[in-house]
């Protein structure tokens, strides 16, 4: 049945004359300044991958420093020059490394790389839209992102080096150009890059929201949208509501740095010189930053949650467990994420009562998060599981989300957080729950939608190798860090040998660094798989995973406008997998109920009495057992 409908949509080709047909495009309009959402998605993905490799390389550099603080690696001097004189990374450069690693990973990889890729690819394809609400703005969004990347990376090529005040750039370190080398030009470039980046994210996010709300195909009401779209939509809403606050904060920061205002500065003595700035407060920056910063971590994780919902459902051959609960928990996370930012600031001398309020709101987020986790597990439960690489990564994402999320409950408690604040416990927590979990969600998406993006399949065996080594190594890297944190080891310290109580942890650091190196090396398998498969992979079929969503009804060959003929109409929700009575274990969203009389359930008709009557009559005639079982 379903195949017939699928073919139907494709065979009434060429009868309508949309402005979108195949028009000839030059190399530049097709690959560079493309306004096609599929090409922009690929641009975001590949830029994101490149930035991820760079950020991973930076992390290996500082891991080497942490593991062997007294050893000399002449090769480092060859590459880094004066930043690693004598083959040892300098303290100032160490700070630059952790700062840029964090910035690139959080913003450039897991925000732009993740949302930029999959929102662009899937929002039009899964909703039955020819392109974004404003393809031009979409293109600008990518190019602003690209320029932001270039500016950020250019700070490695200046005399004073990149920004070094941590990815949260707390003043006064960031606000005084003379504070440390990294506070000079590097910091300015960081701020300019972030302004570009925020502009890019706003253009992208506004476009996503507008497309989802205005341009869905016929029949695609909000409650028929796949969970991926719900997640991207709510992520975009979060971005639109929170990034402007970062802009406000950054504007004030720029004035402090370059014009001498005192928004964040007061009572500072540098060397023997008393600075004229008076009356500002660095805590105000923390408020503005974390008002964005906390929603930002959900901007990172929610797309991964959405992708996992889809991948897990498809590969368990089961409807997602608790579709409505999944949506409401996403909405819950979205709303709550705006009223928890204070939990990053428990040690700033916050009023304990206010701290208590932030603690309660923070702990309440555990509820929607747990709903999601249990729903993933319930979806897997007794599923007819297909362990594709995408499925493994999605399950890995759930694993990290649980193990990292549990420590979030520790940290959300003000009384515990005062002890654990700025220790490796925090590092372990967020690397599991938003670092590893989000990157696994992203990789699940890459493996799952690679055939849609490039028309070819990635190699599954290399995928398995990539998954298992990355999964095990990620735990080996981040799990031991909890114990460092519980022992009070602070993050961002340059050499553990300098402090008596930290020396015993150097051996653990060696172990962690080796695990990180292995994890980094196995990414080569992924990179090879990814780029080789673009050109030489097995040619994909139209619907390789036998999934229900609309993107698999488009032809493998990409065309501008996505569907050659009319845009398909949607008749049902996206999770009709293994429906009792159906001919196959999946029923695409484009199949009307009239073609699946055998498998229709009373609740499918949402109380439409006429349809129920027709179904009852049909059942009475053709399927008497069902009548007895369900309609009595």
């Amino acid at each position: 049945m379903s195949t017939i409908t699928l073919n139907d949509t494709h065979h009434n080709d060429h009868h309508d004359d949309h402005a979108h047909g195949h028009h000839e495009q030059s190399f530049i309009t097709k690959y560079i300044f493309s306004q096609d959402h599929k090409m922009i998605a690929k641009q975001f993905l590949i830029t994101g991958i490149i930035m991820a490799v760079i950020a991973m390389g930076l992390s290996i550099l500082f891991r080497i420093q942490l593991a062997w603080p007294d050893k000399s690696f002449p090769i480092l001097e060859t590459f880094l020059g004066k930043w690693a004189e004598g083959g040892r990374i300098k303290p100032e450069f160490y700070l630059a490394l952790v700062t840029i690693h964090g910035t690139i990973m959080v913003f450039f990889v897991l925000t732009a790389g993740l949302s930029g890729t999959f929102s662009n690819l899937l929002i039009p394809l899964q909703l039955g839209v020819r392109d974004m609400a404003s393809p031009f703005m979409n293109m600008l969004s990518y190019w602003f992102f690209f320029i932001a990347c270039i500016i950020m990376m250019s700070s490695f090529f200046i005399e004073t080096g990149p920004a070094s005040a941590g990815w949260t750039i707390y003043p006064p370190l960031s606000a005084l150009p003379k504070a440390i080398p990294g506070s000079g030009l590097g910091m300015t470039l960081w701020l300019v890059s972030m302004v570009m980046f925020v502009a890019s994210q706003l253009m992208g996010g506004i476009n996503y929201v507008s497309t989802v709300l205005n341009m869905r195909t016929k029949g695609m009401d909000l409650w028929k949208m796949p969970l991926t779209i719900w997640a991207f939509f709510l992520t975009a809403v979060l971005g639109v509501l929170s990034f402007p606050v970062l802009v406000a904060g950054v504007v004030l920061m720029i004035f402090d740095r370059s014009f001498g205002t005192s928004f964040y500065l007061s009572d500072i003595v540098m060397g023997s010189q008393v600075l004229p700035n008076e009356g500002g407060s660095p805590i105000l920056w923390e408020h503005l930053f974390w008002f964005l910063g906390h929603p930002e971590v959900y901007i990172v994780i929610m797309p991964a949650l959405g992708i996992s919902s889809e991948v897990i459902s498809v590969n368990s051959r089961k409807p997602i467990f608790g579709y409505h609960a999944m949506v409401y928990s996403l909405i819950g996370i979205t709303v709550l994420s705006f009223i928890v930012w204070g939990h990053h600031m428990f040690v700033t001398g916050m009023n304990p009562l206010l701290g208590g309020v932030f603690m309660i709101t923070t702990l309440i987020i555990a509820v929607p998060s747990a709903v999601k986790t249990f729903n993933y597990l319930a979806t897997l439960w007794r599923g007819n599981i297909r362990f594709t690489p995408a499925m493994l990564f999605a399950i890995g994402m759930v694993s990290f989300f649980i193990s990292g999320g549990l420590t979030g409950i520790f940290l959300g408690n003000a009384s515990l957080d005062i002890n654990l604040h700025d220790t490796y416990f925090v590092v372990a927590h967020f690397h599991l729950v938003m670092g590893s979990a989000a990157i696994f969600g992203m990789l699940a998406g890459v493996y799952h939608w690679f055939p849609k993006m490039f028309g070819r399949m990635m190699d599954a065996k290399l995928g398995y190798l990539h998954f298992w080594v990355t999964f095990i190594c990620a735990y080996l890297v981040f799990f031991p860090l909890h114990f460092l944190g519980l022992d009070g080891v602070p993050r961002r310290y340059y050499a553990f040998t300098e402090f008596e109580f930290m020396q015993k942890w150097v051996t653990v650091n060696i172990f962690v660094t080796w695990s990180a190196i292995v994890a980094a090396l196995v990414q080569v398998a992924f990179l090879f798989n990814f780029f080789y498969s673009i050109f030489k992979g097995k040619v994909a079929t139209q619907n390789p995973w036998q999934a229900n969503t609309l993107e698999w009804t488009t032809p493998v060959e990409h065309i501008h406008g996505n569907w050659p003929g009319e845009i398909p109409t949607v008749h049902r929700w996206p999770y009709d997998y293994s429906k009792p009575g159906a001919e196959e274990d999946f029923i695409p969203q484009t199949v009307p109920y009239s073609e699946t009389m055998m498998s229709n359930m009373p609740h499918d008709f949402e109380g439409n009495a006429e349809s129920e009557r027709i179904q009852r009559e049909w059942d009475a005639k053709n399927n008497p057992t069902k009548v007895n079982a369900e309609f009595h």
Partner: protein
């Protein structure tokens, strides 16, 4: 709303694209509001923690500039009305007046800055609340510039004789944005008046 009149002439794809683009502008309005919310919350938290606001009597020029901005909004309203009545000549006149009033507003804001500066309330100041006045009015002025571009685009449309649905679209975009920055300025002005 307005283009329902012409619905049957417009292809559904263009109409839906206009609708989506208008929606984009609304979302921009939301995010821009939030940015100014960021500035004013900085101000509130700053004032609460230091126990002081900017403590100034705001220059009178701000009152005139507010009046000019409100007047420009009214003109734009009449221009939009003229578009709906297909009265291109009236539309052009009112758009020119709006444009001019927008420029006058910009001039008055700069004038207010120099009045502030002369009174000793400079941008670089140990009372960050005073610096905020410059920041919010400056950021608002950037919005004015963007708004003038929208008005110019509508005006250009009138001279190029674009199709009537396109003209309606352009003037609607300009109206949404211009009325927004009008209200935004009133909000900022009242905020600064109340929190001195």
């Amino acid at each position: 709303m307005v283009h329902t009149l012409k619905q049957e002439e417009m292809s559904p794809e263009i109409s839906s694209s206009f609708k989506a683009k208008k929606f984009i502008l609304w979302l921009f309005v939301v995010s821009s509001t939030i940015m100014f919310g960021g500035f004013t919350s900085y101000y509130i938290v700053f004032a609460a923690s230091k126990g002081k606001g900017h403590g100034l009597v705001l220059p009178e020029v701000f009152m005139y500039s507010t009046a000019v901005l409100i007047l420009s909004s009214i003109c734009l309203f009449f221009a939009a009305k003229a578009v709906r009545n297909h009265n291109i000549q009236t539309q052009k006149i009112f758009l020119w007046v709006t444009l001019a009033l927008g420029l006058v507003f910009g001039y008055l804001q700069v004038d207010a800055w120099s009045a502030l500066y002369r009174s000793g309330a400079t941008l670089v100041n140990n009372n960050a609340a005073i610096s905020v006045i410059y920041i919010v009015s400056g950021m608002h002025l950037l919005h004015i510039f963007a708004g003038l571009c929208f008005i110019a685009s509508s005006l250009l449309g009138a001279y190029r004789k674009v199709s009537s649905e396109n003209a309606v679209f352009r003037i609607e975009i300009a109206s949404i944005f211009w009325h927004f920055i009008d209200i935004l300025w009133i909000y900022l002005y009242v905020f600064l008046l109340l929190n001195s």
